[in-house]
């Protein structure tokens, strides 16, 4: 695999995912909410910062 991701990066990402889940934990399960869009935003920001280098 060319795109190996460090374990530390995965742990960091998961921690941030869980932080968002915790913010929305009191809302109804499976409810469509701002949670999904916030998660998507996190993925984009996190990946841009941690995974995408300038040459890619």
């Amino acid at each position: 695999m060319t795109h190996q991701i460090e374990d530390g990066t995965v742990k960091k990402f998961l921690k941030e995912i869980m932080d968002i889940e915790r913010i929305y934990e009191k809302e109804l399960k499976n409810a469509k909410s701002a949670r999904q869009s916030e998660l998507k935003e996190l993925l984009d920001k996190f990946a841009s910062k941690e995974l995408d280098d300038e040459n890619s």
Binding site: K11, I17, K26, L51
Partner: protein, 673 residues
């Protein structure tokens, strides 16, 4: 959390206002509520569950009829339950109201207040606050309906048990995260496939998506089959237990069980021998494999030694001396730089010296040692093979004998027994068939996962040429890895919880059970009792209830032990009162006494709702040092007594009438004893 008091107003059969103050002492932590069947024990349990969590137990009939009928007839439209409790050294009041005039959505309202210096300060998010005290999904295990305890001992108990363990572990948040990560992964894969002008990427993505879907489907099928096997296993064990208890078949069944136990042991021995053989291959195999080469090497060294080639016939010191003296062995002059001098100097390359001689000695010793070890290794593997052959023979014999005993039971001239045996054999066969199916599915999943892995590699390679695709692949990889990590973390937590709970349950059983059995909480979360020889123990109704009660007790203790646990993935545990409705119903009087003695130690605050069948003298005697508050529910009836029997309770030497007639209203009242 400790409940100080509850106040009911027109809640079900409790007409008007009623208050119960609970025991909160460190020593006297038990509140005992006596009531005959139908007088309102389960209603009280549900009043607390409803007020705090808007939940009701499964057996609570007509859950939408909260308002007391008499009050309703008198024009009342409101019912309510207030719960006053202490949490982290602060007092709170939670009130839930039922208003029959409102539409469905607004029929119930919840309010929470913080009580400071006697003043009630309304809280903004009451449900969020209550969930932080006791998470809603954990509530039903603290406020437990003992009459529904069979859920933990039925054929599908593993499902209920897993749900209970996961609820107490607080997996809900992580479960939502798993769902979200799966959705993210699917969406990214879809986006990759939609990149314009990249037909190769699109083709790989389509295949990958299909393969991943197939993997999910295969995993679900595997899980369904595993569930079926668990049910078949339970049904088979039940039949085996029944056969053991039937006079005509019990001797044959006992003999068969004994042979089965031996057969299980032999199978374990066979597995151990297989492990030994695998270990032998790693440690000793090399000696046997190299047997031929070491023999040839040793022969070569010997032959060359005889020929004088090993070591070389020329000694290094001797050649150096000739070169130094510049005179050959044939007395000819050796002038440096001449052809003769070079010929003699060339001999130094292969000339023997102390180091080479040492190496030859060491090589010979090592090879000889190899050959000796080879002899030992062969002897050792022959022994293992012999053992294996013997054990397989014993296993075959035992299986044959077990089958013959089965046939004997089937041939007994009692149709009920032979039918049971036939059914048992059918289940055995089904389990075998389902296990074979699982084997096939495992292979299929493995193959599909290999294909998916190759496709993922191909996708990464293809996307290297396309910047957008490359970025998306990296994101999907990150999401997949996070999903893997979270899933494996959850599995590890569940596994640890299972082990801790099994230990906890067995610790309690050691103190309260009358038989020498141990609880096994299997890897699939099925719970069973096994006798000392590992055979499943036939369970009576009472033992089922005992097991369920002990399981609940262990859950509550486990939750308290997790109060400071890691909060990132799981919710932490909680300390809450243990409210048990009819927990001793199916236990005989000896079991009731020994079990109930243990109950006050299970939580900081315990509330027991007992009928006369459960709250006999033995129980009261065992609980006496722990009782801090005691109540009796009394049924008031408008009707005259007529021929109806009087219901009385004698508590602490005093007689109490539990049913009153010719009363102004039909209702249940609460009397403090």
């Amino acid at each position: 959390m400790k409940i100080h008091k509850i106040k009911l107003k027109n809640f079900r059969q409790f007409y008007g206002e009623h208050t119960i103050e609970f025991a909160t002492g460190a020593e006297r932590n038990v509140t005992l509520i006596h009531a005959e069947n139908g007088f309102g024990k389960t209603t009280l349990l549900n009043a607390v569950l409803w007020a705090l969590f808007n939940q009701l137990t499964k057996k609570f009939e007509d859950p939408d009829k909260i308002l007391n009928f008499t009050a309703e007839d008198e024009g009342e439209h409101l019912a309510s339950v207030e719960v006053e409790f202490e949490f982290n050294k602060t007092n709170y009041l939670v009130s839930r109201y039922f208003d029959k005039t409102k539409t469905n959505k607004d029929k119930t309202t919840l309010q929470a207040y913080k009580i400071e210096s006697g003043a009630h300060k309304a809280m903004d998010a009451p449900f969020t606050f209550i969930s932080s005290v006791v998470p809603a999904e954990m509530a039903k295990y603290f406020f437990f309906d003992g009459e529904a305890a069979e859920a933990f001992s039925s054929a599908k108990n593993y499902k209920e048990i897993r749900i209970a363990i996961r609820s107490i572990l607080g997996c809900e948040l992580a479960d939502t995260a798993i769902e979200d990560l799966r959705d993210m992964s699917k969406q990214i894969t879809k986006n990759i496939g939609q990149i314009a002008g990249e037909s190769e990427i699109q083709k790989i993505e389509t295949n990958l998506s299909k393969t991943l879907e197939e993997i999910e489907r295969a995993k679900q099928i595997k899980k369904d089959i595993e569930d079926d096997i668990e049910i078949f296993r339970y049904q088979r064990n039940e039949l085996a237990e029944k056969l053991t208890n039937m006079e005509e078949s019990k001797n044959i069944q006992a003999l068969r069980q004994e042979k089965k136990s031996r057969c299980i042991q032999v199978k374990t021995d066979i597995k151990e021998i297989h492990r030994n053989i695998i270990a032998w291959i790693g440690q000793e195999g090399i000696h046997v494999i190299s047997q031929k080469i070491s023999k040839e090497t040793l022969n070569f060294i010997d032959e060359e030694s005889i020929k004088g080639k090993i070591p070389s016939p020329y000694n290094e010191d001797f050649v150096k001396e000739l070169l130094e003296k510049e005179v050959c062995i044939c007395k000819r002059q050796l002038n440096p730089g001449t052809e003769e001098w070079k010929s003699v100097a060339d001999l130094l390359r292969n000339a023997a010296n102390a180091e080479i001689l040492g190496r030859i000695v060491r090589a010979r010793a090592r090879i000889s040692n190899f050959r000796e070890k080879c002899v030992d290794a062969i002897t050792s593997i022959e022994k293992q093979n012999k053992k294996l052959a013997d054990k397989i023979q014993i296993q075959n014999r035992l299986e044959q004998e077990i089958a013959e005993l089965g046939k004997k039971i089937e041939d007994l001239p009692i149709s009920e027994i032979s039918e049971m045996e036939r059914a048992r054999r059918k289940l055995d066969k089904k389990i075998q068939e389902e296990n074979q199916k699982i084997g096939g599915i495992r292979v299929k999943i493995n193959e599909l996962e290999n294909i998916a892995s190759r496709l993922e590699d191909a996708l990464i390679k293809a996307s290297e040429k396309n910047k957008k695709a490359g970025k998306l692949v990296k994101r999907r990889n990150l999401v997949s890895k996070s999903l893997e990590l979270l899933t494996s973390m959850l599995e590890a937590y569940e596994q640890k919880a299972r082990e801790t709970l099994q230990k906890e349950i067995n610790g309690i059983l050691d103190e309260v059970a009358h038989k020498d059995f141990k609880c096994h909480l299997n890897s699939n979360f099925a719970i069973e009792l096994r006798l000392a020889d590992e055979r499943p123990s036939p369970k009576s109704g009472g033992e089922n209830q005992l097991l369920s009660l002990v399981f609940i007790a262990s859950l509550v203790k486990y939750s308290a032990s997790r109060i400071d646990d890691e909060k990132r993935i799981l919710k932490p545990g909680t300390i809450a009162p243990l409210v048990l409705d009819a927990p001793l119903g199916q236990l005989d009087t000896t079991y009731q006494g020994s079990t109930v003695k243990y109950v006050p130690t299970l939580a900081e605050q315990v509330v027991l709702l007992l009928s006369s069948g459960q709250g006999g003298e033995g129980v009261l005697e065992a609980l006496e040092p722990y009782i801090g508050a005691e109540y009796l529910l009394i049924s008031q009836n408008k009707a005259s007594k007529g021929k109806k029997p009087e219901v009385k309770r004698i508590l602490h030497g005093r007689e109490h009438l539990c049913t009153l007639f010719d009363c102004p209203k039909n209702m249940t009242s609460i009397e403090r004893i």
